[in-house]
Symmetry: C2
Subunit: 197 residues, 2 copies
């Protein structure tokens, strides 16, 4: 930055297909399974189109079922280790509503994620203002294909619930696991940092 001249903004380019794909979902999502299948499909599309890791997420208005923002993992293509699917969805949703807090008005926002959040995304959830998270695959399913989930508090579900954030686990877990395994079979890059050590 200091050698390339002033950099006045941080820019993460989203995959071109992501917005079009999301816009095509015209109807509100009326079940938790429909929301989960959408983010699992985002993960699958991200593999197929080779635009990042096998993770999808989205922020929904829990009451109306309206999609507020989608997210996929773009760590490698965007050269940004924090660009996990959940972080992208949270940040996009906040830009969309124009607030850093998705819980300020009467809207109840929920984060739907194809795999349980890693330590970073878990830490980001209370700051985001979402009131509910719906998880597909377990963290251990991500670990089983080689991803690192980081050091989470032992009772992370209880910690979120203690903050008034509802947690639903194992929603369409088998389908979510299948996407993780698919990533392995196509030779997807397991990109954890610190491999140089």
């Amino acid at each position: 930055m200091l050698h390339d001249g002033p950099r006045s903004e941080l820019v993460l380019h989203l995959p071109e297909w992501l917005c079009q794909f999301s816009i095509a979902q015209k109807r509100p999502f009326d079940t938790v399974e429909a929301k989960m299948r959408f983010v699992i499909e985002l993960a699958e599309q991200n593999i197929e189109r080779q635009t990042g890791g096998p993770f999808g997420a989205a922020i929904f208005d829990a009451d109306s079922g309206r999609l507020i923002a989608p997210g996929v993992n773009i760590v490698v293509p965007s050269n940004c280790s924090i660009a996990h699917a959940e972080m992208v969805a949270i940040a996009l949703a906040q830009q969309t509503i124009g607030s850093y807090d998705l819980g300020t008005d009467n809207t109840v926002c929920e984060l739907v994620t194809s795999t349980e959040p890693c330590a970073m995304c878990l830490g980001a959830i209370p700051w985001s203002g979402v009131r509910r998270i719906l998880c597909g695959a377990r963290g251990e399913d991500a670990c089983a294909v080689g991803f690192d989930e980081g050091a989470k508090p032992a009772d992370w579900v209880g910690a979120l619930r203690g903050r008034g954030i509802e947690v639903v686990q194992d929603l369409c877990r088998a389908e979510a696991q299948a996407v993780l395994r698919h990533y392995l079979t196509v030779g997807g890059h397991i990109y954890n940092a610190q491999r140089g050590r």
Copy 2:
């Protein structure tokens, strides 16, 4: 997003003064205290210029002392709950070097932060590739002025060290604490989400 038309990127605008201020630091930083005082000054400037919360951070090349990227908390002005100082510094540094991993080549990068990382930033550290973190104020100092640090693992320092990431605490702690207290005296916004609950 889906109502305002396609959004193809996530953009966080950095405060105008941040880059100029950083460029003015021409010499490499030759002590850990010099690095810490720089990020404390970033936090102080962020208060004075009213561009965000009282937190500063930076990524340095640990061997040469070269500043790779600065960061400040821009949660409120950027409408982005993940835009903590550490996250901004990490993401900017990765854009600067063109990799999601600050630990891939022979460079040893360190994250210097005016206050110990919250749960989210803590989770982000292993993914970033930094090999050392230098902390000023303690998490409890941030809590003392009203900020929420989130649910960190009980032995978070040990967890980082177990991953080969060195942790230095209490560097210029009194000076770092003073900035947090200054933020309170000027009526700075304690912006934790979920207040609507």
